[in-house]
Symmetry: C2
């Protein structure tokens, strides 16, 4: 039985609760003789600020580098609103992404049939929806320099952020999108603002060239990011794989996730480059830390458990186990088990731990 090293970073808000359910699932896989997991747990975000004064300690960073996969809960909350910019909770997550080189963020937006009515959109527009947003995660305006606030002579302040992309950064994320599309419905849409941004011009040019040289069998469409946001609302099923930069990806993937009516259900994977047959990776739910419902056994753990399923698939090569876990989630839902966020108004809802238990039972 192979052993995999996992770093669990539960974080803040509902993070620790949903992360707790992952531990149950890991234990089941070991009992079933499928794999052994060496799980370490550490602090990130506000929890790390409270303990160490920084949103990610050096020790935690070293553990992340040594792990086969990082499972991340969520960070942030009003408690840390006054923390200086460089030490805010989110900085812990951004440092993990950057220092682990996790340039490819895969965010599936799937509409679970049992939940189609929970969508704000009309049922026929989202039923069967299955798209993946491939978001560039270590470049763009998130990390470009200068990034500063300066005080001018007249007492005014001026803030600057810088969006930078190189040909190589665009090529490698586009390649991830094209490779993924080949395993799916073979269509990529690439979103930028080439009509306003030079990074958009280079983005479009680079994706077009890579497509012609190496992926001409894959369908490719270019779409302006503003129009893409509209199209996601108008007719999301027109897309298969959608590739875009860090900032547009942040927004478009949130729109896509919300469309499904299954926000509390959506996992994500952040992947590094393949080196010597392995790649660094971090898995996290698309939802945030939801401080308003934290500590009340109300959170839906499915996005977090689904993130583990992605880890089984992309980091450990346990494809069957991944399928098994995903179908256990689907069966649990089909049996009518619902946390509050996905329950019909007035219907019975179970808590975080009960949902986790139900999924383990289905396994």
């Amino acid at each position: 039985m192979a052993t995999y090293k996992i770093l669990l970073l539960p974080g803040d808000g509902i993070g620790p609760e949903v992360a707790g359910e992952v531990s149950k699932v890991l234990a089941w896989f070991t009992r079933a003789g499928i794999a052994r997991f060496e799980t370490e747990t550490d602090l990130v975000g506000g929890a790390a600020i409270d303990a160490h004064g920084v949103p990610l300690s050096e020790a935690a960073m070293d553990r992340a580098k040594a792990a086969d996969a990082v499972l991340f809960g969520a960070v942030g909350g009003p408690k840390w609103a006054g923390v200086p910019y460089a030490k805010r909770p989110e900085a812990g997550l951004l440092r993990l992404r950057k220092d682990l080189g996790l340039f490819a963020n895969l965010r599936p937006a799937i509409c679970y049939p049992a939940l189609a009515d929970a969508s704000a959109l009309k049922r026929e527009l989202v039923e069967g929806l299955d798209i993946v947003i491939v978001r560039e995660l270590t470049g763009g305006v998130y990390f470009g320099e200068p990034k500063e606030i300066v005080t001018l002579e007249d007492g005014q302040k001026r803030a600057v952020d810088t969006q930078i992309y190189t040909t190589g950064e665009i090529e490698r994320i586009a390649a991830v999108a094209f490779d993924l599309a080949r395993k799916r419905r073979n269509k990529v849409a690439s979103a930028e603002k080439h009509n306003v941004m030079k990074t958009g011009v280079l983005w479009k040019e680079t994706v077009t060239r890579l497509h012609a040289e190496q992926y001409s069998d894959v369908g490719l469409e270019h779409v302006l990011a503003d129009n893409c946001a509209m199209q996601l609302v108008r007719n999301p099923k027109q897309y298969d794989v959608l590739v875009t930069d860090n900032l547009f990806g942040d927004i478009l993937s949130d729109v896509a996730a919300m469309l499904t009516g299954s926000l509390g259900m959506l996992p994500s994977a952040s992947l590094g480059a393949v080196e010597n047959g392995t790649r660094r990776a971090l898995y996290e739910p698309v939802h945030g830390s939801a401080p308003d419902i934290a500590g009340q056994n109300l959170a839906n753990p499915i996005a977090m458990i689904g993130s583990l399923a992605m880890a089984l698939r992309y980091s450990f090569g346990l494809l069957e186990a991944a399928d098994q876990l995903e179908s256990a989630i689907t069966r649990t839902l089909a049996a009518g088990t619902r946390t509050r966020d996905i329950a019909a108004p007035g219907a019975n809802a179970v808590g975080t731990t009960e949902m986790g238990d139900a999924i383990v039972r289905e396994l």
Copy 2:
């Protein structure tokens, strides 16, 4: 009878067709003895490129400066896809915004009752929707320098865009939002990414201070731009006035417009600062140039005619005439007159000119 100077810039695609309907309405107001209009027409976008090699001639720019209001159709289309960046059709629009100092872009997102079923969202989520996005229009990543693509020593290219905001730029757009909210439901939501961007930090700080100092009677909420995009899909009616920067405004206003099901119906106003009692202004439909349906008498002229109504209100102070025109639009719709974009599947649809005529008849 007062006289107002209008510069009409029809532009490309369906621009000339919808602009044509505006001329009919202007003629009616003159016949009715309400106001006289000196209308000049000039080229912008692709049409200007074809004629002069630039997307806006100096003569047209001078006319725009001399006009009381500019009415703008739409620019762009596949025909000009190969035009160099500095001369692309959109550059004409961006230059008008910048050189006329039109820093405040007001984009109402209204769901016309007769059209609620055309929305992708469930009827109850959009029925009665009435929000205004106040988008900063002359700053941010649209105009910041450096904005360039350089070739590196290894042959790679690197593209850079720069987002810059000063305290003053943020204050003046926030003031527009707060003033507008006072005339509406007295609530402002301010969207940025202060968790990632320094411009977001300054944005939030400046809006908070201005609110405390001058607008503490108005409700204020801060929301992260990615969450805001989600909330617009989940429950758009929670908002009244939404203020945000140029790039987020581009995307969020498109999402909001699409939600209403009335995209072909939404006007917008771009306003400069008040100087000597007047302000520069440009009015344009939210929709684009729709080259696929251009020249076929299929376009919906209501967004363009609604833009004229905004001009009557904000530039000419003809409040009654503005109301009159808007209610003529509402009555025309209530009577069942529909262009193809808003007709029920299979129902009869009228053309662009017939819709314009019907509105003039209602006047």
